[in-house]
């Protein structure tokens, strides 16, 4: 079966407010950065797929305008998921596995600044019974954090250490938005303090995938996708144990992440307490480097943050900093849906 690798990754600087640029203006330089790394053009890409959400932009069909940034002329083979770009990458991976494409461009963007993100995300919830109560994303994450503390899995001090570690790591990441490692901040929603929560970000990312020998030709050290899988859990919070993530565990098993140790993991954990849940589900030991980029606590462009985790893990394989890495993306409240990819540098195609 066709082996597929990440051969290029690019991202924007992530900022609190990008009012001065449109989505096309935000996405276009990132696309050209990724394509430029492998010397490709839009016309030579076999398949293109993007991830985004209309609700962030506040208008229907917002992705049609972003497509203009690709320069889809002559017409291209293209698709879009109304999800994080990590799932757009999954769709592209499937396409390459069919053998009907050799290369794929995957991109994602999120502009949170036009609206109030905490309000906007309530619209993800059960529209009849839950959304009318407007429980916001930070409050739901606080429920999860409190459940973990009650279960003895963590405490506020250890959560603060997670925040400090991620944001200190982000100082080496020129794209990061937050590098302030202060942990004496005020409560937002108990038990979560400001430092336990992600920044609100505008940003974009792009990845180029390639199959087999094409990947070897385009990249000195491709990041081979050894396995990738995603799983969803029940939406109703009352049906879930928020202290565990069975969907992450199952996705990791299916992606083959437990067959050999990984050296680093990029986890899409916007809230500190979610890193605790994910480390347990993924059986990450203390010798695994977690979020060398700073993770979603340093920059959280919604709909791109998951794709960035795959890109950051791949970039470390490209440079030789790691041979085997894990990347994780999440969607929905309290880690409802999770994707795990295992990337390797050793050529096994």
């Amino acid at each position: 079966m066709t082996e597929v690798a990440v051969v290029a990754f690019a991202q924007s600087a992530h900022v609190r407010d990008s009012a001065e640029s449109s989505e096309v203006e935000m996405v276009l330089p990132v696309l050209h950065d990724a394509l430029g790394q492998v010397g490709l053009t839009t016309a030579r890409i076999d398949f293109t797929c993007s991830g985004s959400s209309d609700y962030l932009a506040g208008r229907a069909f917002s992705f049609t305008m972003a497509l203009d940034g690709v320069g889809a002329w002559p017409p291209i083979a293209e698709s879009h998921v109304e999800m994080d770009g990590a799932w757009a990458l999954y769709e592209a991976w499937v396409k390459l596995r069919t053998g009907r494409a050799e290369t794929a461009l995957v991109y994602a963007w999120g502009k949170s600044s036009p609206g109030r993100l905490r309000d906007v995300l309530t619209r993800q919830l059960d529209p009849y019974c839950l959304a009318p109560l407007w429980p916001d994303s930070v409050s739901l994450a606080a429920l999860q954090a409190q459940a973990l503390i009650d279960a003895g899995a963590t405490d506020e001090k250890r959560l603060a250490a997670i925040a400090a570690r991620n944001r200190t790591a982000a100082r080496a990441n020129p794209h990061a938005q937050l590098t302030d490692d202060r942990t004496d901040t005020d409560y937002v929603v108990r038990p979560l303090r400001r430092h336990d929560c992600p920044p609100i970000s505008d940003g974009a990312a792009a990845v180029v995938l390639a199959a087999g020998d094409t990947a070897r030709r385009l990249c000195a050290r491709p990041a081979w996708i050894r396995g990738i899988d995603h799983r969803i859990e029940a939406h109703a919070l009352g049906l879930r144990d928020l202290t565990t993530s069975p969907s992450t565990r199952l996705a990791a098993e299916r992606a083959g992440s437990f067959t050999a140790p990984v050296q680093l993991a990029e986890l899409h954990a916007p809230f500190t307490a979610q890193e605790v849940v994910l480390r347990d589900a993924l059986r990450l030991t203390d010798d695994v480097t977690v979020n060398p980029s700073g993770g979603a606590l340093a920059a959280n462009p919604v709909m791109a943050a998951g794709l960035i985790r795959i890109g950051e893990a791949a970039a470390r394989i490209h440079t030789g900093a790691a041979d085997r890495a894990l990347a994780h993306a999440t969607s929905g409240p309290c880690l409802q849906q999770n994707l795990v990819a295992v990337l390797e540098g050793a050529d096994h195609g």
């Binding site: 209309d54 017409p75 999800m83 619209r123």
Partner: protein
């Protein structure tokens, strides 16, 4: 190793209506999915993954509704993906599901598309103010009418061809128990007498706004052997996109549509679509798009599509029946409309289309488009396994 052959072994749809107040969003998708599983004689645990599609989230006011619908579609513990490619989404969603089977990532995939337009107002959903861009021109009709006018001028078509299409499709819908509009007393004269909305498009030449869902079960060669009813086999499938607007765009016959059809025909070994395809389900939300797409898809030469329609070749008993289901003109839950076209094509080659069955249909085209005529998704299905 070649692609795994992909078979459609289950098809389900809801009864479509202006407002399905008897069901929630979850109830609506489950109605279609349950019927598709029953057709395939499978149960929820037999499904390996779910691929769901719909048009803008603003139509129901739920952001990323796949999250809320996970339980209703039996997806808990499974992979679930959400596709969104504007009006073509129902087709694109089916194609993503087909790729999962073709790539041997999953054996049996449930794909669902829906829209519950009564939960919101489609005109409002499409008309949110956008800074620094032109406002949408009074809904989709306002956008498409000038392109229809351009087609009329270019082709010299008589002005009543659109009415012929509307009358034909609405008559076909009377044979489809799931169709939204059942206008028993409609006559050609009434279509022509209906109010002019966006010249040259009259009220009876426009699609309704519907609640509804469509679902299909796709599987591999082994799964097809176990299916209780004849499968439809996927012989060709493709998506193509081009930019929304630029100086070189041909809105009457977009190149992305022509390229997409050419790729599907290449895969299916079709060299003369007019002779080799037995039935076509085309995405025709405004009547004039039937002759326009007949040209774009290679069934007629440029400027000649209206002659096919006028000669009644596209009638249910013509030699190239188009939209035997009644089409988008009779049923339009936007997110599901593309999948309904794909599903009708599959029903036809399975011989299971009931009263609107085209005799001896062996190869059928399912077609969807979206955005400003910029996104295209198509498949060609057949009664025979493609490699046999």
């Amino acid at each position: 190793m070649a692609d795994e052959p992909v078979a459609v072994i289950g098809i389900g749809q809801t009864k479509h209506a202006a407002a399905r107040r008897d069901v929630s969003l979850a109830g609506l998708v489950r109605e279609a999915a349950g019927r598709a599983l029953a057709d395939a004689r499978l149960d929820w645990p037999d499904v390996d993954a779910v691929v769901i599609g719909k048009a803008p989230d603003f139509f129901e006011g739920v952001m990323m509704p796949e999250l809320y619908l996970a339980e209703a579609l039996g997806a808990v513990g499974k992979p679930m993906m959400r596709v969104h490619t504007a009006g073509s989404v129902g087709g694109s969603t089916a194609l993503v599901a087909a790729d999962l089977v073709a790539a041997r990532v999953h054996r049996t995939v449930l794909t669902v598309a829906f829209e519950k337009q009564s939960e919101s107002n489609a005109m409002w959903g499409l008309s949110l103010p956008i800074p620094f861009q032109q406002p949408l021109l009074a809904g989709a009709g306002g956008f498409f009418a000038p392109h229809v006018r351009a087609y009329l001028r270019r082709s010299g078509a008589p002005e009543d061809v659109g009415a012929l299409v509307a009358y034909k499709d609405r008559r076909n819908a009377l044979k489809n128990p799931y169709a939204h509009l059942h206008e028993d007393d409609l006559t050609l004269e009434r279509v022509l007498a209906s109010p002019m909305l966006w010249d040259p498009i009259r009220y009876s030449e426009t699609c309704p706004s519907s609640d509804g869902a469509c679902a299909m079960v796709l599987t591999d060669a082994v799964g097809a052997r176990r299916a209780p009813h004849p499968p439809a086999w996927v012989h060709g499938r493709a998506m193509r996109s081009e930019p929304t607007m630029f100086a070189g765009k041909d809105y009457v016959s977009p190149r992305a549509g022509r390229d997409c059809a050419a790729e599907v025909y290449r895969q299916a070994g079709i060299t003369d679509p007019r002779r080799e395809i037995d039935v076509a389900e085309l995405y025709v939300p405004f009547s004039w798009y039937e002759p326009m797409w007949l040209e774009n898809l290679g069934f007629a030469a440029e400027g000649e599509g209206w002659r096919l329609t006028e000669s009644r070749a596209t009638a249910l008993d013509g030699d190239l029946p188009v939209n035997p289901s009644g089409g988008v003109l009779s049923t339009n839950p936007i997110g599901a409309s593309g999948m309904l076209r794909f599903a009708e094509a599959a029903l036809q080659v399975r011989g299971l289309a009931g009263e609107h069955q085209v005799d001896g249909a062996r190869r059928a085209l399912g077609h969807a488009y979206g955005g400003g005529s910029q996104f295209f998704a198509m498949w060609l299905v057949g009664s025979e396994r493609p490699d046999s």
